[in-house]
């Protein structure tokens, strides 16, 4: 049985520190009974005093976990412990016929070919969004007519109410942006500039959406994504399909209300193109864990329509391997900035642009971390960035390959290539 993961990568699956600790504590052979495997399945039962044992199953290719325990975490500590044990002591799992309780139906439809569904037009949603955006436009006009100067006195509610109305109008992404504005007024000396540029860009977006039906297909698609109208799960009308070895470079997890969002960046080994796989989880529904940073997925990716195609769905998966090298990155910040400018020219609504740097060093100026290339150009990292000292320690003042997102203002590092593997920065304990 070949496992494509390292211990570090398996530990990265833990949903939080407590699960990590407990899971590690369960990775002991004496805590398990009936360990076994067949093909791509492993299982074990975890005896509890005075109660029926918990029975845990893992489907390896999709990293799908099933367990009888009542934990709301996913994967639960038993699943995590079982996988760690498999990694450390594979000989403890005998090949055998699975007991009846092993559930052999992964609930993630991970492995399916593309079938080419065309999205149905949804005029009602378009009308809802447009009505919300028109209200927003009027609100923005009032803001600049009365002047921004009084905004620092406004309560947060002032912003949140508008944001909530936009969410109700099914323009969730716009709502999220307006909600974030509540933090801008008065926060730093340049707040009027920051807010005005946000407001101005949103105004352009409204103008674009107003004319949605007259625009080319790709521009329409980008506008829809920009307001938060994402392609549905059955929409597989991809503009291109690409088979490649996709290096999984970075992952971001976030939560909006009850919705969990998992964004994973991939990088084509042959095609040298980035791809973004977004997964939304609602409530207890688990997210797909199989896209582990530092592994390489051999698969077809279908790219959604866009002037800058990034978002993609995974089609047929041929399997994962451990990354053995770092794909070739961009050599300088100037080149990365030029690529970003081109992308922004094609898709003005773009929010985050992935950049894989071949070699950058790090430095701190005025309490803010920057990255530098060997031509002396620099990009600032986010304010109060927590992992700058880690990057500095890992680089020892020299250069390292780095992957992250550029938003036109600041660069957010997601992972760094060090010691022959990708290290996800979000897994470290921050130091400010």
């Amino acid at each position: 049985m070949h496992l494509p993961w390292t211990t570090e990568q398996v530990l990265s699956l833990a949903p939080d520190d407590v699960s990590l600790r407990t899971g590690r504590g369960f990775a002991l052979i004496e805590r398990w009974r009936d360990l076994g495997h067949i093909d791509t399945w492993v299982w074990g039962s975890f005896p509890i005093k005075d109660k029926p044992a918990f029975r845990t199953t893992i489907h390896l290719p999709t990293l799908t976990f099933a367990c009888d325990c009542v934990s709301r975490k996913y994967p639960c500590p038993h699943g995590l412990g079982l996988l760690l044990l498999l990694l450390e002591q594979p000989q403890a799992f005998a090949e055998s016929e699975p007991p009846a309780w092993v559930r052999i139906t992964p609930w993630l439809a991970g492995n399916r070919p593309f079938n080419g569904n065309v999205p149905r037009p949804n005029p009602q949603r378009q009308a809802n969004i447009l009505a919300g955006l028109r209200e927003l436009e009027q609100w923005l006009r009032d803001l600049v007519r009365n002047g921004l100067a009084g905004l620092p006195e406004r309560p947060k509610r002032f912003w949140y109410e508008m944001a909530d109305r936009l969410v109700d109008a099914q323009a969730g992404e716009i709502g999220r942006r307006v909600r974030a504005w509540a933090e801008i007024p008065g926060q730093s000396p340049d707040w009027p500039e920051r807010l005005l540029s946000e407001i101005g860009r949103l105004y352009l977006l409204i103008q674009g959406f107003e004319r949605l039906n007259t625009l080319p297909e790709t521009v329409q698609a980008d506008l829809r994504v920009a307001v938060g109208w994402l392609p549905g799960p059955n929409d597989t009308s991809f503009i291109s399909v690409q088979r490649d070895h996709w290096h999984i470079l970075g992952k971001q997890l976030s939560q909006q209300g009850r919705q969990k969002i998992q964004q994973t960046w991939l990088w084509g080994e042959q095609s040298r193109r980035p791809a973004l796989v977004v997964e939304l989880g609602h409530g207890p529904q688990p997210l797909d864990l199989s896209l582990v940073v530092g592994t390489v997925l051999d698969a077809e990716l279908g790219f959604y329509a866009s002037a800058t195609p990034l978002r993609a769905e995974i089609g047929l998966r041929q399997g994962f391997t451990q990354a053995k090298f770092c794909p070739q990155g961009v050599a300088s910040i100037r080149l990365a900035a030029a690529a970003y400018a081109d992308a922004l020219a094609a898709n003005p609504w773009l929010t985050a642009w992935p950049v894989l740097f071949k070699a950058v060093r790090f430095g701190r100026v005025d309490q803010c971390w920057h990255l530098y290339d060997d031509q002396g150009a620099s990009w600032p990292l986010p304010e109060k960035y927590e992992y700058g000292w880690h990057l500095q320690a890992l680089s020892e003042g020299a250069t390292l390959p780095l992957f992250g997102e550029w938003n036109g203002v600041r660069f957010l590092p997601l992972s760094v290539w060090t010691g022959g593997r990708w290290l996800e920065l979000r897994l470290l304990r921050g130091v400010t």
Binding site: T7, D17, L20, R21, R24, G25, L140, R141, V144, R145, N146, G147, L148, A149, P192, E193, L196, S197, E198, I199, G200, R201, L202, Y203, L204, Q207, I333, R334, A337, Y340, A341, D342, L344, A345, A346, P348, R361, G363, R364, V365, Y372, Q375, G376, A377, S378, W389, H390, Q392, A393, L394, E396, G397, A398, G408, V409, T418, L423, L428, R429, V431
Partner: protein, 522 residues
């Protein structure tokens, strides 16, 4: 349009900034009051913006802001400056620890058992290895917050970790600059009060003499609030070389500095202060082994200025007896113990027994205990502990016992203890012991603990006992792991209230055994 805007070179940066500033001003004040700036129409951006409707000022301003913002974002050139990154670390000689050891460190830092960190770091340093780069910021941060961890952390940082530490003020305790006098002095001059405490503390660990020289270089000008905190750092590796400096500090303008100087000089039996105190104390106690009251205290009529300078305090109590208690302890604490055994020709045990017959029993015991502690006198410590029955006045002398002496003491007490209770001397002594337990001690404790739990299994575990059980898991030699696991297995099964603390003992001991084995093999 966007692509053209990006390549528009005629629109200079200055012009852009001018327009943007005017636009921000208009937005701040509101279009009701402030006109919108006009962008010169000969530029490409100007031509595009001319299409906006000037009769609709809000739309005009919003459109302009959006276009300029986008223009700025797309056209932004990365700033070009010389990288501020210092030159990399000097040549590294220590190898990184193995991946298995790295996993152990990761476990410690993210578990409930973070107090195992010193043991881990000591073992790592013992093998001449260093912590992996990715852990350096977190270790340095821990050291910055917890001073007691610093002596464990600094040795495993390696040159690169100490290079990293030099880049941040609150990590200066580990800075590479401390290795050379010139750079250490520059660092000392650069840092603030907290930094100087950290630098001095560290210097006293590795180069006590240079540490004091750093202190002397700025001592005259240190503020009153900082002086006591700085002089306190001389505690580490105190020696007679520090005596002249401390003798001068007896006349310091700050009271707390004078107190600290007295305390430090009293730890040096060869100091001038101890000599003066020995002379003054000659008349204080008289030895009458034949009498019922074997030691008689006769306090001097007048407290000379010299005695006051040497730390005999004058507390403001109403009762003279309380004042005298303090003063006798102040004096006895600074008298070399050899003076009593030498002039009275009696051993510590006889003298301690004699002290208990005097009219000031507790006072004399406390005075002798203070002297024994300061002078690290094991013979006196044993006499005081035994004859004062491990009371609060003497129990902290357990700290200065060498392991074999501690082991002997535990053996005696163990033999005398049939069943533990809250007041057992055995409990008090073991609880106080700050170092790893010698193997026989761990064996004896294991047997006592099991006997107690089997006897008294219904009671909720008592706080003190629970504390020692915790301590046992961390201080027991890992060679005993199998024995402990086997011994505790039936106890855990039969005693539900003790299940969780004892399970922890097993978990921690097993982890420590694996951890130390991994470090040993690497």
């Amino acid at each position: 349009m966007r692509a053209e805007a990006v390549s528009d070179q005629t629109h200079t940066l200055d012009q852009f900034n001018l327009n943007w500033a005017a636009l921000v001003k208009a937005a701040l004040l509101g279009t009701q009051r402030e006109p919108i700036p006009v962008i010169p129409s000969e530029t490409l951006l100007g031509r595009l913006l001319a299409r906006l409707d000037p009769a609709d000022p809000e739309a005009h301003l919003l459109g302009l802001a959006g276009a300029l913002a986008l223009y700025q974002q797309a056209g932004q050139r990365p700033v070009t400056t010389a990288s501020p990154a210092a030159a990399g670390p000097p040549g590294e000689t220590r190898p990184y620890c193995s991946p298995a050891v790295e996993q152990c460190l990761n476990t410690i830092l993210n578990s409930r058992f973070q107090d195992l960190l010193p043991e881990f770091l000591t073992a790592l340093a013992g093998r001449g290895q260093r912590a992996p780069a990715v852990f350096l910021p977190n270790l340095l941060e821990r050291g910055a917050k917890t001073t007691s961890l610093r002596p464990f952390i600094v040795p495993v940082l390696g040159a690169s970790g100490r290079w990293l530490a030099a880049q941040r003020a609150d990590w200066c305790y580990a800075s590479l600059e401390l290795d050379h006098w010139d750079t250490a002095l520059a660092l000392w001059r650069r840092v603030d009060g907290a930094g100087r405490q950290a630098v001095l503390r560290q210097m006293r660990q590795v180069a006590p003499e240079q540490g004091r020289q750093l202190l002397e270089s700025t001592w005259k000008n240190e503020p009153s609030s900082l002086r006591p905190l700085l002089i306190k750092q001389l505690e580490a590796n105190l020696s007679l070389a520090d005596e002249p400096f401390l003798e001068v500090a007896l006349d310091d303008r700050v009271h707390l500095v004078r107190r600290k100087a007295v305390e430090l000089l009293a730890r040096l039996p060869d100091s001038r202060l101890c000599g003066r105190m020995a002379a003054a104390a000659r008349g204080l106690l008289s030895w009458q082994p034949q009498q019922a009251e074997q030691i008689v205290v006769s306090f001097p009529q007048h407290l000379t200025p010299q005695l006051r300078r040497d730390g005999v305090s004058t507390p403001q109590y109403k009762e003279l007896a309380r004042v005298r208690t303090v003063q006798i302890i102040d004096m006895l604490g600074a008298v070399p113990l050899a003076q009593w055994t030498g002039t009275w020709l009696a051993g510590p045990e006889a003298i301690v027994r004699g002290a208990l017959t005097s009219r000031w029993p507790a006072t004399l015991i406390r005075g002798f205990a203070l002297a024994a502690e300061r002078q690290n006198n094991v013979e006196w410590a044993m006499a005081l502990l035994t004859y004062d029955n491990y009371s609060v006045n003497t129990i902290r002398l357990v700290d200065i016992l060498p392991p074999d002496q501690f082991q002997t003491l535990v053996a005696q007490l163990d033999a005398a203890t049939t069943l533990l209770n809250k007041d057992s001397s055995l409990l008090k002594v073991i609880r106080r012991w700050p170092q790893p337990w010698p193997e026989p001690v761990a064996r004896r404790w294991l047997a006592q603990m099991v006997r107690f739990i089997e006897h008294d299994n219904q009671m909720t575990p008592d706080g003190i006992l629970r504390g020692i059980v915790r301590q046992f898991a961390r201080a027991c030699p890992v060679d005993l792991t199998d024995l402990v696991v086997q011994t505790l297995a039936p106890v855990i099964a039969n005693n539900p209230v003790w299940q969780s603390p004892l399970q922890d003992v097993v978990t921690i001991l097993k982890f420590r055994a694996v951890m130390l084995a991994e470090i040993d093999q690497s």
